[in-house]
């Protein structure tokens, strides 16, 4: 209870700091939405060239994009800024965070919460809503639950990847853009039906790392299609089970990382 109020205070401070620069906030808000719009446009453009890609129609593909971008945008807004950790580690400013009576990660996330990314989340969910409308879905209670849970599980999954890749900064201050291959790369991967990828690439990203369960398998389950790659229909409901270990691993990596923090001189 007390902690909740503390977090709310941190959030309030961030909101007030941001609103001190009102115009720049508005410009960033719109600019950020632009980025997500382009992700979706890419998929539309692809389907201008061919009526079907990887065995999927445009409407079906948009459902995959919708699930993926809603989840990713949510994770990106809530957790994505953790990649600024390397700046804090290099400058030693993490010290100030560590002497406060709150866990470090939630503090960092709230202190830097990028409100400018809010419209991205809205846009992601609008695409998802649109996709649900244009596809002919046989609504059952299980599918309704699936639509509600999938973006959240996707957000948890992407969020964990953000945290894991940012935590590398504790060992390796110049961790740079390697993490981006898995965060933004992962989003791009999940934006398309995975049938478009080659087998070894698919084996690694889709099944070993679990990206298939973020958007592709749930989309199949919603559409009631059988998986051309042979997984049973149940696979569509596995996203929380993929997200959970990801969150646990991320928490463990973070915990280990923070004990490796070296601060800086003086």
């Amino acid at each position: 209870m007390g902690e909740l109020r503390a977090y709310r205070a941190l959030f309030g401070a961030q909101a007030r700091s941001v609103l001190m620069y009102r115009t720049s906030f508005l410009v960033e808000l719109l600019g950020n939405m632009g980025a997500t719009v382009f992700d979706v446009l890419t998929v539309l453009v692809l389907f201008r060239a061919a009526p079907q890609v990887g065995g999927f129609t445009l409407a079906e593909a948009v459902l995959t994009v919708g699930l993926s971008s809603a989840g990713f945008a949510l994770a990106d807004m809530l957790v994505g800024n953790v990649d600024r950790l390397k700046v804090y580690v290099r400058a030693g400013t993490l010290d100030a965070v560590l002497v406060r009576p709150l866990p470090a990660l939630p503090q960092l996330l709230l202190m830097d919460l990028p409100l400018r990314k809010a419209l991205r989340v809205v846009f992601g969910f609008v695409v998802l809503g649109g996709a649900l409308a244009i596809n002919d879905i046989d609504w059952t209670p299980a599918r309704i639950a699936l639509v509600a849970v999938t973006p959240l599980a996707a957000a948890a999954f992407f969020g964990s990847i953000f945290v894991i890749s940012a935590t590398m900064a504790f060992w390796w201050v110049d961790s740079g853009e390697i993490g981006a291959a898995f965060t933004y790369g992962g989003r791009d991967f999940t934006s398309y039906p995975i049938t478009v990828y080659g087998p070894w690439f698919r084996g690694l990203f889709a099944y070993t790392l679990g990206f298939a369960f973020v958007a592709y398998q749930p989309a199949l389950a919603l559409l009631g299609r059988t998986d051309p790659l042979g997984l049973p229909a149940l696979a569509g409901y596995l996203s929380p089970l993929v997200a959970l270990p990801a969150v646990i691993i991320a928490a463990g990596v973070w915990r280990t990382g923070i004990r490796h923090y070296r601060s800086t001189g003086s």
Binding site: A9, L10, G12, A13, V99, P101, L102, Y261, G265, S266
Partner: protein, 319 residues
């Protein structure tokens, strides 16, 4: 209140050795420190740059994980019980801000009340006290980024005290401040320490801070404690002496010697002489000098702590 037993912190540094090869080198930043600090003590922590002062402070506050050894503050282990410890200690890092850059001090203080879960009336009482002692009122509504360094430091001190900490850690609290601000900060800390409720540990390069505030002085160098005791004990140990400067009636004869004192300088046509006093009392030396050559004026100078410490830092081999 604070216990350290053989506390160590090593940093691994990778050194370039050729085009691609890097060799690892382990650098001990803190190399086996054992200290006990009791409730209400005011301890000054000094040492040259890179001696391990800040590293020690960071291990005490839960920022850094020790490589080995034991440490406890308020009966808690700093890193594993970091958030619980944070409620009971206050920290001021002279070169890092605890405040919110874009917000006025008043709002930062309000936020800290929520973060530290302090009851509103206690918070208000402490803030009132700090406001009057540190003259905060004139800049309480200015965003932190527009404050001068002295104003900001007064804000930082307040921020570290609003939750009523049992131990206050200060890492170079007077660094970069002007004389007036330094004095304000010192007077405030002296007042705080005099109350006896707060244990104070501060690192500094400004020895005036120590002389003004701390009974106990801990000198560290190369990650080890080289002195732990009062300033007087430091002088006694390193043979720093009070000096006697006398303007004489008649010129000092060649080969003149004084009981319990050593001649160190002669000036003004042998009309001014400086002696280093070996004994605690200057009386015998003064009497002998008066009867031998007559004294027009004289002064006894306290040893300069700066000199002692400078000698301590430069000597690689400490007795």
């Amino acid at each position: 209140m604070i216990k350290m037993q053989d506390l160590k912190k090593d940093f691994t540094v990778r050194v370039k050795a050729g085009r691609l090869r890097r060799t690892k080198r382990v650098v001990p930043a803190v190399d086996g420190i054992s200290l006990h600090i009791d409730r209400g003590e005011m301890v000054g922590y000094i040492g040259p740059n890179g001696a391990g002062k800040s590293t020690t402070l960071k291990m005490l506050t839960g920022v850094l994980m020790p490589s080995s050894g034991e440490v406890s503050v308020c009966g808690l282990a700093p890193v594993p019980q970091r958030t619980r410890l944070a409620l009971r200690i206050g920290v001021v890092f002279g070169q890092r801000s605890q405040l919110w850059w874009d917000l006025p001090l008043r709002e930062s203080f309000g936020m800290l009340r929520h973060i530290y879960r302090v009851p509103a009336d206690e918070h208000a009482a402490r803030l009132r006290r700090c406001r009057s002692l540190l003259d905060l009122d004139e800049f309480l509504d200015t965003p932190v980024r527009q404050l001068s360094l002295g104003q900001r430091m007064r804000g930082e001190l307040t921020a570290a005290l609003l939750h009523g900490p049992e131990v206050l850690f200060l890492d170079e609290p007077t660094i970069g401040l002007d004389v007036v601000s330094k004095q304000a900060v010192r007077a405030f800390l002296a007042d705080l320490g005099a109350s006896g409720d707060v244990t104070l540990v501060l690192t500094t390069h400004d020895l005036a801070d120590i002389e003004r505030l701390c009974e106990r002085l801990v000198v560290i160098d190369h990650g080890r404690v080289v002195h732990d005791g009062t300033i007087e004990a430091l002088h006694a140990r390193y043979g720093s002496r009070r000096s006697l400067v006398a303007d004489l009636e008649r010129p000092l004869p060649e080969g003149f010697s004084l009981p319990g004192a050593i001649l160190t300088a002669v000036e003004a046509g042998r009309h001014r002489a400086t002696f280093a006093l070996e004994s605690a009392s200057a009386g015998a030396a003064v009497a002998a000098l008066v009867s031998a050559v007559g004294v027009r004026d004289l002064s006894v100078l306290e040893p300069d702590i700066e000199d002692v410490v400078a000698r301590l830092y430069t000597s690689t081999d400490v007795p």
